[in-house]
């Protein structure tokens, strides 16, 4: 049965009815506490309504109540799979408003941390997407490389999952030759592992059947619904914040922006979103190699006053997270704590398209669509 056409029902003498099924907040395939209310006609889903808020941890109110430096660790917990990227985004927003200069070594260290975390996050997306579809093996293979990365992060920052590595004005610790040696070893290990991942999932006929031509998002719809990140690029829109609005020395690196092109099906289907992430991992590896080769000397953190006060005003800054554009809108009134911080989580905007896309498909396709959008509920609910 080709998933490109709407499945039709057999005419029976049984009277059938539509059913509202609740894929509740606790569900093995919803990537966290997401509730999907699904109106089904047999196995065909007519409409899906996502309900969120089951992990709303009051980040914006907390950021108003604590000092600037104290608010940075709370961002780790927002997108807990890309903790380095979150911290860098908020620190950049504060630095943009306060016109704080970050030393070049700190910028390059931030780039290394962010790109390694991009690989770790995409590995997690790869592993759990396989689990959702029904393949258990890629999860364990992905975690093998992820554990290597987490050991590197532990040496860099002291934490395995939530790092608080980016501080306002730089990073928290310098990098020594021990960590560099580990990263280089990881790069070699990852190149062979990547071939294994492709054989496990990317060229797998069952996986292609489940994901190609499913959940097609055309580019104009992606833009209208505010999609960003790999989901947007998989629909063909060439926009990467690292290239368009470079921050933290990204302009010094050479890398490609991966666009979807209907690799196995239509442009903007689930397979495109998945494969764009896979290729982005290799691009991140290239950036890390370049960064290690050319790391400048110097301070790893700018000198800041003990109680940091930002000037009165407001600023918006966005960074390219593994899931999309993480933006922070900071309003300050001269006090040691912010007046208002609004976190624009990419998963919040990416998830809103579910109502549009997950209709007239099978129940299994809804799982494939949610998995391909790759949400993290900490970012959706903040």
């Amino acid at each position: 049965m080709s998933p490109a056409t709407t499945p039709t029902l057999r005419q029976d003498s049984l009277k059938t009815d539509e059913l509202l099924v609740n894929m509740g907040p606790q569900h093995p395939s919803t990537h966290g506490v997401l509730r999907l209310v699904v109106r089904t006609d047999g196995e065909i889903v007519r409409e899906t309504w996502p309900h969120i808020g089951y992990l709303h941890r009051c980040f914006e109110k907390i950021a108003e109540s604590v000092t600037y430096a104290q608010s940075v660790p709370y961002t780790d917990r927002m997108d807990y799979l890309a903790s380095m990227n979150d911290g860098v985004a908020l620190c950049l927003a504060y630095e943009h408003l306060g016109k704080i200069e970050v030393p070049p070594r700190a910028q390059w260290l931030r780039v290394i941390a962010c790109e390694l975390n991009r690989i770790a996050s995409h590995l997690m997306a790869f592993g759990t997407y396989g689990l959702d579809i029904g393949a258990m093996t890629p999860f364990f293979y992905g975690f093998r490389e992820r554990e290597a990365l987490l050991s590197i992060f532990e040496k860099m920052s002291g934490g395995r999952l939530l790092y608080h590595y980016a501080r306002i004005g730089g990073v928290c610790r310098d990098m020594d030759s021990d960590i560099e040696h580990d990263i280089r070893k990881f790069i070699v290990q990852f190149k062979t592992a990547f071939e294994e991942y492709n054989e496990l999932l990317s060229w797998n006929a069952i996986f292609i059947n489940r994901t190609a031509n499913v959940g097609v998002i055309p580019p104009d719809k992606a833009i209208a619904w505010g999609l960003t990140g790999p989901c947007l690029r998989a629909s063909g829109v060439n926009y990467d914040l690292r290239k368009r609005r470079p921050y933290s020395a990204y302009e010094d690196f050479e890398f490609n922006v991966i666009l979807g092109e209907g690799f196995r099906g239509t442009l903007g289907d689930c397979y495109d979103r998945y494969y764009v992430r896979m290729l982005e991992m290799m691009e991140s590896l290239r950036i890390v190699e370049q960064a290690l080769d050319g790391l400048p000397e110097g301070d790893f953190q700018a000198k800041l006053p003990k109680i940091l006060r930002l000037p009165k005003g407001e600023a918006y800054f966005a960074a390219e997270n593994p899931r999309g554009e993480l933006g922070f809108y900071v309003v300050s009134d001269g006090k040691p704590n912010a007046y208002r911080v609004r976190a624009r989580g990419p998963s919040f905007c990416n998830l809103s398209i579910t109502h549009e896309v997950a209709r007239d498909c099978l129940v299994a396709d809804v799982i494939a669509i949610i998995g391909s959008i790759d949400i993290v509920l900490g970012e959706v609910d903040r």
Partner: protein, 157 residues
């Protein structure tokens, strides 16, 4: 186009509806719009070929104690420029027109702003709380919000 140039272009088209350029000392500037003219300005920003704002980044609000602000961040993929709109609203009953039919991305952002700040968006298809439970009392991001002592029997302290 720089934000100041976009502001100038809007000012010549919608004379009184658009406020003066704020001259910020730090950070970004913004374009202030009267609440009644938000819809015409938004439609112009979307349809004018020189502006062509097709991507609504975020809709949020700021509680300024004496008044309430609704803030809109827009971006254009065709021209790669951005705009920031601000609307000053009455603090006692903040209400503004909804932009959910112009940019579908506004749907959830407006629901969240309603949930956390209490700004009503007239014309929104489904204005309900999105992050907090349906029976939550109060709007937490307001400056005069007090944490509840308990919720459904679970103590908060």
């Amino acid at each position: 186009m720089e934000l100041k140039a976009i502001h100038a272009r809007l000012k010549e088209r919608f004379a009184e509806a658009v406020g003066e350029w704020p001259e910020p000392e730090a950070g970004d500037g913004w374009i202030e719009v009267q609440p009644d003219s938000l819809r015409p300005v938004a439609e112009f920003l979307r349809q004018d070929p020189a502006l062509a704002f097709d991507y609504l980044r975020l809709v949020t609000g700021v509680d300024r104690v004496d008044w309430m602000e609704a803030v809109y961040h827009l971006h254009s993929y065709a021209h790669d420029h951005q705009a920031i709109l601000k609307v000053k609203l009455d603090r006692a009953d903040p209400a503004v027109a909804s932009l959910a039919d112009l940019w579908p991305a506004a749907d959830w952002h407006e629901r969240e702003t309603f949930d956390l700040l209490g700004i009503r968006f007239d014309g929104h298809p489904n204005l309900r709380r999105i992050l907090l439970p349906e029976d939550w009392q109060g709007h937490p991001l307001r400056k005069d919000y007090k944490q509840p002592d308990e919720y459904h029997g679970i103590s908060n302290w």
